[in-house]
């Protein structure tokens, strides 16, 4: 077996198939990145899994999951002030959390250099929105590389690191979901011996304090730095022109995954427009872009999400008095979703109707395929919690969700957690909903990893301002949604912390104990002011995977006794574990591939028809 650890640590050059996220880790090693920090979030968690594939003692850099993205950014920055090349990585919306610190960084003289690897999520594959973080980079004056595939992700990280070290600044590597998760064969370079950890902080390297008078001077310096960064990217020809003989005088300016979609479409085209592929999307290389515009009558700016390139390129053309027609976004749909090969094909057909042949038609079904909404796993403690909590609530009570697996409580059959903003927002929203409200009681949900991430300030505010809410802390002892990363709860006991905050009513209950949990929620909701119920059960996906690895493990399942079952279907319609199957005549049985034999469903049956089998190895 080819172990990822061995692949990543190989010292001589080699070729290997890796995922974009994994290739980044090899680039970290080759560039002697010394300190890496993160908070887990899709599409970047495989960067961390690749790092964890290397045992601590062999890992050539320090790594931590910090408590949130802002803290992760600050830790990486601190380490870089000591002269260590550092890297922080997180998902798209993580930048919102980190922003307060991030916008200051280009003002600073970061002597070790720093790279932000951000996983944007056009199409909102696994995020609450598809925000275009490119909007932030103009404001913060930072250089941004955008690769289109894993090989470029590897190469551009190395560029970003080299530039960050050279100019003592922060540089961004912008990935998107299908660049992070793509796999291809990549040629890797050798690893040279690198420096040890440094501790060279000296305030003379600064200034590092942006007091009002200094802030403007620091801004001026950051602008000069950005010019130098631009010169580096020009010298290394990161942007590329493909083709130079378009008889039609048509061109396309494009970057990232949209470039690959364009190239695929042009495999079938009647003629070939020239392409300017941008590898650096901020700051823009004016000279190269103007030269490209001058050579063409029409240029399409093919740009995923917002129209930032389009506006800036149009401005350049206006200033240079160019007559080239620049085609950008024309309707709202152009701003929405990933620029997949399908989407790009349709845009090209619309812009240049003579460019591409009509598409082939597909297979038609004469029946509907039932949708498959995401749901909680078999045995999930959250399912038991929602089943029990629902019994404690009145119809008019308001339930507020937060980010995490428990957000799925909104789906049928539970329909709990009706409002969602972002990490840690539930207590604050619930407090607002509860203000001067004597008609509806308000319950907020919050996961344990999110509690530490951004949940604490909102909760402290409920204490400080005497808000009347019940918080149900959905504790599963891990960061489950993103693949089971550890969190601060390993060292900090939540109940002790809540008590220390001055919250008097704090109780904890295992969620499999449905009756007790229902009672505890009822009691908590009768309390005036803040009350907390910790609804606790370990993540069963994680727990079952660990159990199955043990030699001689016997997998038990539940069974349904058909002579007892009266087809009340409570197990299906109110509890809703995916392991239950329903046949056309209404009979219920168990999908043995899914059932983990936890038995959390047994108490839901009024006829006690659910039992256990003997298990199988």
């Amino acid at each position: 077996m080819k172990k990822l650890e061995d692949i990543l640590l190989q010292s001589s050059p080699f070729e290997e198939i890796l995922m974009g996220n994994q290739a980044i880790v090899r680039a970290m090693i080759e560039t002697h990145t010394r300190v890496v920090t993160s908070y887990p979030g899709s599409p970047t968690p495989e960067i961390a899994s690749a790092i964890y594939s290397i045992p601590d003692e062999k890992r050539p850099f320090y790594f931590e999951f910090s408590v949130n993205e802002k803290v992760a950014t600050e830790v990486a920055f601190g380490a870089a002030l000591n002269g260590n090349l550092s890297c922080v990585f997180f998902k798209s919306v993580g930048l919102n959390v980190a922003l307060d610190s991030f916008v200051q960084l280009p003002l600073m003289n970061i002597i070790g250099g720093m790279v932000l690897v951000i996983g944007d999520d056009p199409g909102a594959n696994s995020s609450q929105n598809e925000q275009d973080n490119r909007n932030v980079y103009k404001m913060s004056r930072v250089t941004v590389f955008e690769p289109a595939n894993p090989a470029e992700a590897y190469a551009y990280y190395k560029h970003a690191a080299a530039l960050a070290v050279r100019e003592q600044t922060i540089v961004v590597l912008r990935l998107t979901t299908h660049v992070c998760h793509a796999r291809q064969k990549i040629s890797f370079k050798k690893v040279e011996a690198g420096p040890d950890y440094r501790h060279d902080f000296h305030c003379e390297n600064g200034p590092y304090i942006a007091l009002t008078s200094m802030a403007l001077e620091m801004k001026k310096k950051s602008m000069e730095k950005l010019e130098k960064c631009l010169a580096y990217t020009v010298a290394h020809q990161i942007n590329q022109v493909i083709g130079s003989s378009s008889s039609q005088k048509k061109g396309v300016i494009v970057s990232g995954l949209a470039y690959l979609s364009l190239m695929d479409a042009l495999e079938k085209s009647h003629y070939q427009p020239d392409i300017l592929k941008l590898g650096v999307i901020h700051p823009l290389e004016k000279t190269g872009i103007l030269a490209f515009l001058k050579e063409h009558d029409q240029v399409l700016v093919l740009e995923e999400l917002d129209n930032l390139l389009e506006l800036e390129i149009k401005t350049m053309a206006y200033d240079a008095k160019l007559g080239c027609k620049i085609i950008g976004k024309t309707r709202s749909d152009d701003y929405i979703g990933e620029y997949t090969p399908d989407k790009v094909y349709a845009i090209l057909q619309r812009v240049w109707p003579d460019l591409l042949p009509e598409r082939e038609k597909g297979v038609r079904l004469n029946m509907e395929v039932p949708p498959r909404p995401a749901q909680m796993c078999p045995g999930c403690g959250h399912r038991s919690a929602f089943f029990a909590i629902k019994k404690a609530l009145e119809k008019e009570d308001v339930t507020v969700a937060d980010i995490g697996c428990h957000t799925l409580g909104y789906m049928p059959p539970y329909n709990l957690g009706e409002i969602l903003l972002c990490m840690g927002a539930s207590s604050g929203m619930a407090s607002g909903l509860a203000l001067k409200n004597t008609e509806k009681r308000v319950v907020a949900f919050l996961g344990d990893s999110t509690f530490f991430h951004a949940g604490l300030p909102g909760l402290i505010n409920t204490v400080f301002n005497n808000h009347n809410i019940t918080l149900i802390l959905m504790e599963n002892k891990t960061t489950a949604m993103t693949g089971h990363q550890d969190h601060a709860g390993e060292k900090v006991d939540i109940k002790t912390l809540l008590k220390a905050l001055g919250i008097d009513h704090v109780v904890r209950c295992d969620t499999y104990n449905h009756k007790k949990l229902t009672g505890q929620v009822k009691d908590a909701m009768a309390v005036k002011g803040i009350s907390v119920v910790i609804a606790s059960h370990p993540c069963m996906l994680k727990f079952t995977r660990m159990r199955q690895k043990k030699e001689g493990y016997v997998q038990q399942h539940v069974t349904i006794d058909p002579s007892q079952c009266n087809q009340s279907h409570i197990c299906l319609s109110q509890f809703g574990c995916p392991s239950f199957r329903r046949s056309e005549d209404g009979q219920v049985d168990i999908n043995l591939d899914l059932c983990i034999g936890d038995g959390s469903c047994r108490v839901t049956c009024p006829k006690n028809a659910i039992g256990f089998d003997k298990g199988e190895q």
Partner: protein, 191 residues
């Protein structure tokens, strides 16, 4: 080789990741250029998981345009049917497991379950070659993917990729008892 597009679909937890990686590496061992990508937003939570592999010359994006998959591999009946509508090209090939993980609306009694019979009817009408793989006797659901891999090898569904290449791929990805058990199922289906 012209571009050959493979769309793999199933439900989170079915072992689609290993199948996709084994295919990608098998194709690579056959000396054919290949790229792949997984889409697994909430796959761990019983959602749909899709993986795509593209191989041959002049391939760029790992994503495949609608109705341009030469081969659809379905690990579950509902997802195989969904991919027939969304992914497969006319006269393409479908290889699927006769396994059913009921979606929530079926369990709630709101929607009708899709069966293997429905799939065969659609394939016949649309001139899609369908190969149904019976894996009901494989106790560990996570190894049912090997039944699919073996069937792909047996029928040489991916041009130029044979049994030996898949064996090399499995040896890249697995070790010890896991390799033995998976390879045994693969062999049984590869014939």
């Amino acid at each position: 080789m012209n571009p050959f597009n493979i769309h793999i679909t199933g439900v989170g937890g079915q072992g689609i990741g290993l199948l996709s990686q084994a295919l990608l590496r098998g194709i690579d061992h056959a000396g054919i250029t290949a790229i792949a990508v997984d889409t697994h937003g909430l796959a761990q939570r019983g959602g749909v998981v899709v993986s795509r592999i593209r191989c041959g010359r002049n391939i760029h994006s790992p994503l495949i345009r609608a109705h341009e998959a030469d081969l659809v591999i379905g690990m579950e009946v509902h997802e195989a049917m969904r991919a027939l509508e969304a992914a497969i090209r006319q006269k393409g090939t479908l290889v699927y497991l006769d396994a059913t993980w009921q979606p929530l609306p079926v369990r709630l009694g709101d929607k009708r379950e899709i069966t293997s019979g429905h799939i065969l009817n659609v394939c016949q009408a649309a001139d899609v070659q369908a190969i149904c793989v019976d894996s009901t006797h494989i106790k560990d659901a996570r190894m049912q993917n090997m039944a699919l891999l073996g069937t792909l090898a047996r029928h040489q569904v991916i041009p130029g990729v044979d049994r030996a290449h898949y064996h090399q791929a499995l040896a890249d990805l697995l070790i010890g008892k896991m390799l033995e058990e998976n390879a045994a199922i693969f062999n049984a289906y590869a014939g």
